[in-house]
Amino acid sequence: MSAIAACRLMPVWNTEAFVQRALLLLGVLFLILGLLAPLSTMLLKSVQDHAGNFIGLANYAEYFTNPALFGSIINSLVIACWTTVIVVTCAFITAYALTRSGMAGKKGFRLISSLPLFAPSLLPALSMIYLFGNQGILKGWLPVDSIYGPVGIVMGLCFWIFPHALMILITAMSNSDARLYEAAKALKTPGWRVFLTITLPGVRYGLVNTIFVCFTLAITDFGVAKVIGGQYNVLATDIYKQVVGQQNFQMGAVVSVILLLPAILSFWIERRVQKRQTAQVSARAVAIQPESQPLQDNLLMLFCGGIAAFLLLVIGMAMYASLISFWPYNLTLSLDNYQFDMMDGGGWDSYFNSLRMAFWVAITGTAVIFLLAYLNEKVKALPLLRKTMQFLAMLPMAVPGMVLGLSYIFFFNSPDNPLNFMYGTLAILVLNTLVHFYTVCHLTASTSLKQIDGEFESVSASLKVPFYTTFRRVTLPLCLPAVLDISVYLFVNAMTTVSAVVFLYSADTTLASVAVINMDEAGDTAPAAAMAVLLMFTALGVKSFHWLISRELLARSQRWRHA
């Protein structure tokens, strides 16, 4: 027995296993430093006074006794609820039309409805000003007095969140089983009953998921409320005001914690729903072949046409306004508004900074996230570490950008922090953005890794081929589509994000999206719109480039797929 026991204590040195575990450990450390530590610092700040003394919940007490601040919670909830109801309804009908009807022009609708994904959330808000502002071309159509307030916020958010909701619902609806509908037809079930008993239950998880995604995006968004909120305060703008307007970092931390709560709650519920979702569609499910029903198709087409028109109107208005010399008194077209060097916000430098940042986020982010997802998926040892990793990888989804940005100030600007040197550099913006958009990339990577045969590593080991060779020769090529998706997702989001980085840019690292905010703040609405339009076209350009590249690359490296 003692010989056996001794044998247990003496594992043979295994370099590969050591490297894998060390990398995994580094990965967890990376996420702790990039996410958990800053968030903890922020929590700590919320229970301290200006001088850094512990004062318990006094800040919170102050918050809840200040009606102006407290009111923002209600405002945020109102905005989030309205946005969710409108977006989910519209997206549901559109998704239904795109997956279940014989409507014509589906491809075009899908293309148009994805456009907002490439725009910063500031763009619809700026566009609203030109559409429904006091000098707006459609001012008369507005049922309320002023676009500056909840109506404007909700409209802007609807534009921006719609494609997110649509994507989830399209996926959910494509996964249904045609045999259920055939069975219903055989039983002569009326259409409304089919809808209630088959269609709706079939997509219920997708629907719940959509609701929470919409709610979270709406309650945490900063850009729209900042530009068009007027005096209507929401939590995200409160954080900004507390921090940049009043230097009240402690109160900023308090609002952050409060904003974190609904986000974490909806995140938690969504995860639970996700867990129960497994295998609702059997492998033998038959895909639905939509039939054409002229009346229904035409109605749906009318609806989708309306949606598409709204999306194009918003984008078109921003583009048009950016080319007007002096709205509304001099409508001649000019490129004056693109002379960013004469405006606040860092000028053209900020645009190139954004490009650089997005480039580095895409490169380092794809590498780090994919590698860590790989290790998390393939390393069999250290279950506790992998669980921690999984949790940390999911967490960023629940952390609003404003909160993450503020946390970074607290954490990285402390002189006691050896990482302090990062403060004010491009590196901190890259790190912050990478962490901010971590979760979706991690899920994409994990999903594609899970689809790969789990025995590849075992086979390689038996053939005495080191894991990194198999990673390079097999795993990476197999996951190439996912890797490309991740990189372009990171690039586009890094270009358009504003909430987290608004606290972190410095003189050398002004960003285009922040410049939009700054120009709008300074009253330069048209140049702000110009920059937003520029950002959108850059993101679209990158996406098209990605599409071409991946088509080319996949055609060459993925011959086996079509073999």
């Binding site: 200040n66 009606p67 102006a68 009111g71 923002s72 405002n75 000003i129 502002g133 006091n134 000098q135 007095d145 002023s146 500056y148 307030g149 007027g230 005096q231 209507y232 305060n233 005001k241 921090v243 940049v244 307007g245 009043q246 230097q247 970092f249 002096f326 709205w327 509304p328 008194y329 001099n330 060097d341 004469m342 405006m343 606040d344 916000g345 860092g346 000028g347 053209w348 430098d349 190139f352 900074n353 650089r356 100030i409 600007n413 402390s414 002189p415 302090n420 403060y423 004010g424 491009l426 410095s506 003189a507 050398d508 700054n518 703040e521 300074a522 009253g523 330069d524 609405t525």
Partner: protein, 341 residues
């Protein structure tokens, strides 16, 4: 400046950082709340005479720059603050964040533009004054008479047509509030703002924005400052800059060295420049009142008697009461969604 920036982008793109550039010159990080369109000429003028110092501007509105400086108190990023409201610099001075320095030639400046200490912590540059931007086209459409005084703005016909900066973030906003409190007295001042509040459509983040919104017809009346109004008039906006009869609130733009800078020598060079005559002449392109007596010439779209219209501003009082005033203001007005008082 632009070339520099391009070179930086290039260098950084190549090697991720400009550290390897030959460093014959000192990069001076200067935090400022000057208007974006002023930065270039200031830097050019300074660097022409001091080629070994390069200015890196960090530009934001008064509130944000003040917030940043306070946030970075433990670990200052700025070497110099230039063109920031004196009330903000007084707050920084109270926090012990400023490095005293007596620039060569400071004695030529008017006394009220220089910190009273033997070694001044800050030196004033110019004064900017509150004013009203009034869109004549929109006012005519809406049938709004031209206001002549601050008190006029509280009249019911202006309801929903007035926009002013939020004092929490905007230096202009703060000087408005502090000047009203000083010239009307605290009680009267708050009463005035209560009434004004019912007419205000919204409070903006920056001091320029109300005037720009007035220029764009988004509002008829924007409470802003004279320089911005004058600029927009020149640009062709249908606005008129109104100087209310009760007197004009004003604040000083001032400069100071941030304590703890490792580029003290270059910082001093810049401070020395700020008190020179050419610098004051430059200020005069935007502002009618500058620190060096006898320099100011009348400027386009500005009234000539502006200095006489300025109220007797007590900066010390403003600085000491800054956080109290802001807090009170926020309690009263910061949410338009609250029932109006």
């Amino acid at each position: 400046m632009k070339l520099m920036a391009k070179a930086r982008v290039l260098a950084a793109a190549l090697g991720m950082g400009a550290a390897l550039q030959a460093q014959a010159q000192t990069d001076l990080t200067v935090y400022t709340a000057l208007e974006a369109d002023q930065l270039k000429s200031y830097a050019t003028a300074f660097e022409k005479n001091n080629p070994d110092v390069k200015i890196r501007w960090v530009r934001d509105s008064t509130g944000i720059i003040t917030a940043r400086l306070l946030a970075e108190k433990e670990n200052p990023q700025a070497d110099v603050v230039l063109g920031l409201a004196a009330t903000s610099l007084l707050v920084l001075k109270d926090q012990g964040m400023l490095q005293g320095y007596k620039p060569a030639g400071v004695e030529k400046l008017s006394k009220k533009f220089v910190d009273a200490d033997a070694t001044p912590s800050w030196v004033g540059m110019d004064a900017w004054v509150a004013s009203i931007c009034y869109n004549t086209v929109e006012a005519e459409k809406l049938n709004l008479p031209k206001p002549a005084s601050w008190q006029d703005l509280t009249r019911p016909e202006y309801k929903g047509h007035v926009i002013m900066p939020n004092p929490n973030s905007s230096g202009t906003g703060f000087l408005d509030v502090s000047s009203w409190l000083q010239s009307f007295g605290e009680e009267q001042g708050w009463a005035f703002m209560d009434k004004l509040h019912t007419n205000v459509d919204r409070y903006t983040h920056s001091g320029s924005k109300p005037c720009k919104l007035a220029a764009a017809g988004e509002t008829a009346i924007g409470i802003s400052f004279a320089y911005r109004g004058a600029k927009l008039v020149t640009k062709g906006a249908p606005i008129e800059v109104i100087f209310p009869s009760e007197g004009l609130g004003w604040d000083m733009e001032a400069a100071a060295i941030v304590k703890g800078t490792d580029k003290l020598q270059a910082a001093k060079t810049l401070m020395d420049w700020t008190v020179t005559r050419p610098a004051n002449e430059l200020y005069n392109e935007s502002y009618a009142v500058v620190a060096m007596p006898g320099v100011a010439k009348p400027i386009k779209n500005y009234p000539t008697d502006i200095a006489e219209r300025m109220i007797d501003n007590d900066f010390q009082w403003s600085a000491v009461n800054r956080s109290r005033i802001l807090k009170e203001w926020q309690q009263r007005y910061d949410s338009k969604s609250e029932p109006k008082k």
